[in-house]
């Protein structure tokens, strides 16, 4: 029997002025999700079930950017995406462009198990959800008052400063609210006026040494309709093999270019690095200008996290009794 381990995250890149009550609420949610996963692992649930269970909980709680509480598109709607991967056979499922599916991660798992494909998106994914009889809700369910306010701020900032065809200029002078911080966030070298990371994810290794990973997100605040980020992309936001399970979060475009999740596994597999070394390597060497973070577990029951952003909502626990929940470095 091996040792289990679990890690959860609620996104990398944290508003430095985040109110203390919100920090506490985030920590409480992460702790609750860890405990949920720990109980399932103690009852010998397979890793793939545990990551789904935990991410469902994160999606259902409105605090982070997935499921209820997802960031809004430029049209004020929610378009969610998620992916899941089971290490032993590298089976995987992914979904994008969901607007009515209450728990995107569970639909991703159904794509893996009940469809001949690995990835379904937009109306085809919604149609599959109806065929499978998963719980559907009105798009309004996902939209929180807070996010409506954030979108408004994003749009105000955009209307003056943000044109994606024109390189950054004068963004520093903008104070578009809490999330637009002193150092403007950029993506692909172009400014993003308001950035709502807070993607959620969970990685687990169970007592049998099986690894699994799951990631779910609403994407970027004020994103274009149809934008796909790293979360549903196998090898970018999510990856699991017989060696490890990885879930990433942060600036999606930097994560995609870096094939960040696969690279953690690849340096373990091809360079023989241990989990923590692999995580440190990819955070240091793979991310270009982008800010991101990740959580990972190995088949040996190790757990690691790494980020180059100013903070990451995260928690982890191992069978040995180690447990940690944190936001800042």
């Amino acid at each position: 029997m091996g040792k289990w381990a679990i890690a959860v995250h609620g996104g990398a890149g944290v508003d430095p002025n985040l109110p203390v009550q919100r920090q506490e609420a985030a920590k409480q949610l992460l702790t609750r999700c860890l405990n949920l996963g720990i109980s399932a692992l103690r009852s010998n649930c397979p890793a793939i079930d545990v990551v789904e269970l935990v991410v469902r909980e994160l999606e259902t709680d409105p605090l982070f950017n997935s499921g209820r509480g997802s960031a809004l598109t430029e049209n004020g709607t929610v378009e969610m995406e998620a992916s899941i991967m089971d290490g032993p056979k590298r089976r995987c499922g992914a979904v994008s462009g969901l607007t009515t599916v209450k728990n995107p991660i569970s639909l991703a798992r159904l794509v893996m198990e009940k469809s001949p494909h690995s990835y379904l998106a937009f109306s085809g994914a919604e149609e599959f959800a109806r065929q499978q009889g998963v719980e559907l809700v009105d798009n309004e369910y996902f939209i929180t008052e807070e996010n409506v306010g954030m979108l408004k701020l994003a749009k105000e900032a955009n209307s003056i400063l943000f044109d994606y065809r024109i390189p950054n200029g004068g963004f520093e002078t903008c104070s578009a609210g809490a999330a637009a911080t002193d150092s403007p966030l950029q993506m692909n070298g172009l400014p993003i006026s308001l950035y709502a990371p807070e993607t959620v994810g969970c990685v687990v290794v169970d007592q049998e040494g099986r690894c699994a990973a799951a990631t779910s997100t609403g994407g970027l605040m004020n994103k274009r309709t149809g934008r796909i980020g790293d979360s549903p992309l196998i090898g970018a936001g999510t990856y699991a093999s017989n060696l490890c399970g990885v879930s990433c979060t942060g600036e999606g475009e930097a994560i995609i270019r870096a094939t960040l999740a696969r690279d953690v596994a690849a340096v373990m597999e091809y360079k023989g690095l241990c989990l923590q070394e692999a995580v440190d390597f990819v955070i240091k060497e793979r991310l270009d200008e982008g800010q991101a973070g990740l959580i990972a577990v190995s088949k040996n029951g190790e757990v690691a996290c790494g980020f180059n952003a100013n903070g990451m909502f995260r928690g982890c626990a191992t069978e040995d009794g180690f447990m940690e929940v944190g936001i800042w470095p």
């Binding site: 992914a94 462009g97 469809s115 001949p116 919604e126 692909n188 796909i228 094939t259």
Partner: protein, 320 residues
């Protein structure tokens, strides 16, 4: 150092008995596209421009499953996807779910260059195409009589073989009748390294015959169907679900980078050791001008050329 280029028109269960009238136009198309790429490289075009140019030509050719000639979804529609990546900067762009854009590969390049994002899909991608003023056309332009027939055959076969309540069958494609001969699994792609050592990869596809509406394959996924960095450029083709699971294109580069294997060794390792037989083919070039085109399927429509005068066009294992 020298330039090198490779292109493919899909790997799969291509029957060796394929009649000449079906084989020859495809060989001619491969030769034509190779010539276009070679000319561009000789006129000092950047690798990124070369792969886009060649893939546009392959998309315009109805014999391959991309652009005009794309295979049909289970609803009888086309949903095209494409991806492009520049090796030195690792900048990339991808699109899925296109129904009216004549050249998906060029839209993926616009996503890379004109948006802060990497990947746009479905209605959002179509809206972006209109904003950018790329050439669009009624969906019927892409649909060929051959593909209508192919869908009909697939549906007849599928009625028996696929029931979603039954255990998963990830290898539907293999069961499809191969009699119509050719490009059921076709995808097109091009990789190039120019004289300056710039690397680029591009892949474009209509996906799988009878695929579910909304299905995304390996082609638009960076690291799966398409990848380029400062060591190599890779475009993969075959069974999308297997290619995604094995992050095929990134793994060729990762094995070179982390194990120190050569381009040929790394590509052979991924095709022979990592992905089950019958699932994958790939083309790859390295920064030093090597080229390789391994596959573990029956055949792969492919062509390549290097600056020192080597050139090959082939379908099955034996070199024609």
């Amino acid at each position: 150092m020298g330039w090198a280029i490779a292109l493919h028109g899909g790997a799969g269960d291509i029957p060796v008995t394929m009649p000449p009238e079906r084989r020859q136009p495809r060989e001619a198309a491969l030769r034509h596209c190779l010539d276009i790429g070679v000319d561009a490289l000789k006129s000092q075009k950047h690798a990124l421009d070369v792969v886009e140019l060649v893939v546009r030509e392959l998309e315009n050719n109805p014999n391959f499953n991309a652009g005009k000639g794309s295979v049909l979804t289970n609803a009888g529609t086309v949903e095209m996807e494409a991806c492009i990546m520049d090796g030195n900067t690792k900048r990339c762009g991808a699109v899925s779910g296109l129904t009216t854009v004549i050249n998906p590969i060029s839209l993926s390049r616009l996503v890379m260059e004109k948006t802060p994002h990497i990947y746009l899909a479905f209605d959002g991608a179509e809206a972006f195409a209109r904003e950018q003023g790329v050439e669009t056309i009624n969906s019927s332009h892409f649909i060929t009589p051959e593909n209508i027939e192919r869908l009909k055959q697939a549906k007849e076969a599928k009625r028996v073989q696929i029931d979603y309540s039954q255990p998963i069958q990830k290898d539907v494609e293999k069961e499809l009748p191969a009699a119509s001969g050719g490009s059921q699994l076709g995808t097109v792609g091009c990789v190039a390294v120019d004289n300056q050592g710039n690397l680029a990869a591009a892949t474009s596809t209509g996906g799988l015959v009878n695929k579910m509406v909304g299905r995304i394959g390996d082609t638009p996924i960076i690291g799966s169907g398409t990848y380029a960095n400062n060591l190599c450029a890779v475009s993969a083709t075959g069974k999308g679900e297997a290619i995604i699971r094995h992050t095929v294109a990134r793994d060729v580069a990762a094995v070179m980078e982390f194990k120190g294997l050569s381009l040929k060794e790394a590509s052979a390792y991924v095709v022979e050791e990592c992905v089950p037989r019958g699932n994958v083919g790939l083309i790859a070039v390295s920064a030093s001008g090597e080229v390789t085109m391994p596959f573990n399927t029956t055949g792969m429509f492919r062509a390549c050329a290097t600056e020192d005068g080597y050139s090959q066009i082939g379908i099955w294992t034996s070199v024609e």
